[in-house]
Amino acid sequence: MRVLTGNDLKTGDVIWWTGEGWSRHVDAAADAGETAEQVLAAEEAALRVNVPYVIDAAREADGSVRPAHIKDRIRALGPTVRPDLTLKPKDPEALDWII
């Protein structure tokens, strides 16, 4: 699937396109398919996202979304060296998902 991501203009938070708006959780990402570039341009112009781009990702059997590149997996979760600051601070297995 093709997923849109970028950073929130005001806060810098990593965000993912859900089909209707933006979420901080990669699992909420929608397949933007052919419309990706169009959505990007519109959302950037509307100042809702900064430096957006399109990535490849896979929808897993449990419905979660896994970005193809490690860089985007780290963006999705948070720094691997500070599990306490990731989006899943209480999940000891979260880091295994990165590799």
Partner: protein, 543 residues
Amino acid sequence: MYKYDSYDQAMVDARVEEFRDQARRRLEGSLSEDEFKPLRLMNGLYLQLHAYMLRVAIPYGTLNSEQMSVLGDIADKYDRGYGHFTTRQNLQYNWIKLEDTADILADLAKVEMHAIQTSGNCIRNISSDHFAGASHDELVDPRPYAELMRQWSSFHPEFTYLPRKFKICVIASEKDRAAMRLHDIGVQIVKNETGEIGARFYAGGGMGRTPMIAPMIREFVPLDQLITYAEACLRVYNRYGRRDNKYKARIKILVHELGRDEYVRQVEEEFAHMLEQGVEPPLEEIARIKPFFADPAFEDGPKQVDRSDPDFALWVDRNTNRHKHDSYVSAVISLKPVGGIPGDATGDQMRLMAKLAKQYSFDELRIMHTQNVVLPHVKIGDLHALWTELEAAGLGSPNLDTIEDMIACPGLDYCALANARSIPLAQRISERFDASGKTEKLGELKLKISGCINACGHHHAGHIGILGVDKKGLENYQLSLGGSEAEDTSLAKITGPGFTEDGVIEAVDKVTDVYLDQREGEERFLDTYRRIGMAPFKEALYG
């Protein structure tokens, strides 16, 4: 320490308001990201993996207690309770909001700090010796000259859109603790045959993908021509540095392509012209700046410590540097706890270091390019009390210049340009060497880790260097040996094919075994490598 006067303060305040206006225009949409990016970069604001990142300048690495404590407060108020001290003697915050940035800059300005020119293709924060003004082996304190250059380089109208970033370093001893010759311009304050003080210039050093050691370009520049000469160096670079390829735009490439002699010829020509333009600040200006860096009121006291506690004695041996006054030392606070993140400090730790500086070091601290903090003037008689407080706060690691004192850039955990993570390697290596007790046996060993070819972690200059590369989407690491950023500057050579994360940790272990096996007398790792060459190490790694 230098104190702003109303003019310095007005410059910084004006910049805060200018940035507030720029950020407003961006948030309202009248500036596009393409237009805003260079402006935010001029104020040290990057967009990184998880958020905006703000880089705060610590000019020549010197700061006072109040400034350190404000850095801690900002970490708590606007970030997530910590900051990262960098190889450029700066501090980086990793979780900054664009909306908050002007307020942070205003908080910084209140204590005479800023983020000006910590990024962008301009003259960057000027670096210097972290023991400046304290060490026994320096000619003079280099910081007045660094301060003069700081002012000259701030908002320089001609040099704000250079081909590429420009880093200047000023030192004043033969011993190089600041990687001077790996800067775009390195300045060493020296004395000539007639006993006059002046500046020796080096140009065209740098790391990144094409590391180079700066050649000397002028033996002696009189102090009343220092700025004029620097201006000539910069003008030649601004006009002729390459702009067609970002990777060839640093001054090192210009000096290399023209050849040192031709670059020098052009600079001399420009210099002769510049001397007629009256660009040098009046000589009284350096005389005005110098007293700010005058020695504090040192007092005689004990010249030795009580060595009955071996842990304390080890820390004193490892983490203190000889001072110019025999009752004092410079004490290094290690930000490299075993298994920790090199260079990170929490808001609480920053405030504690601020308090200790006030109590024990005439209110002064320094940031080292090796990502540690120095209390420059500590009475030998106070060392035990200081160490006790550091120990209690987890800041007492006795590991200066050992393999555990490695440099590591933020790498793929934070950095948008990274190929691989640096910090986890650093953590695992320090844990492993600490656990095996090998750290002690190895003595001075400089390990430096970068997460990509940009070399923020100085891997080219490591006795052992590690570079993160991308191998078909997987993290991979190249090992190199034999670099140094001290006065015996050299560039490390790659051992051969890269390794996985586990593999490179094994590899570091193996090369240190070769050293332990082959070393003669007091040789450091680097000395042994230089004597026996790469072959035995290669054999151990790939044989």
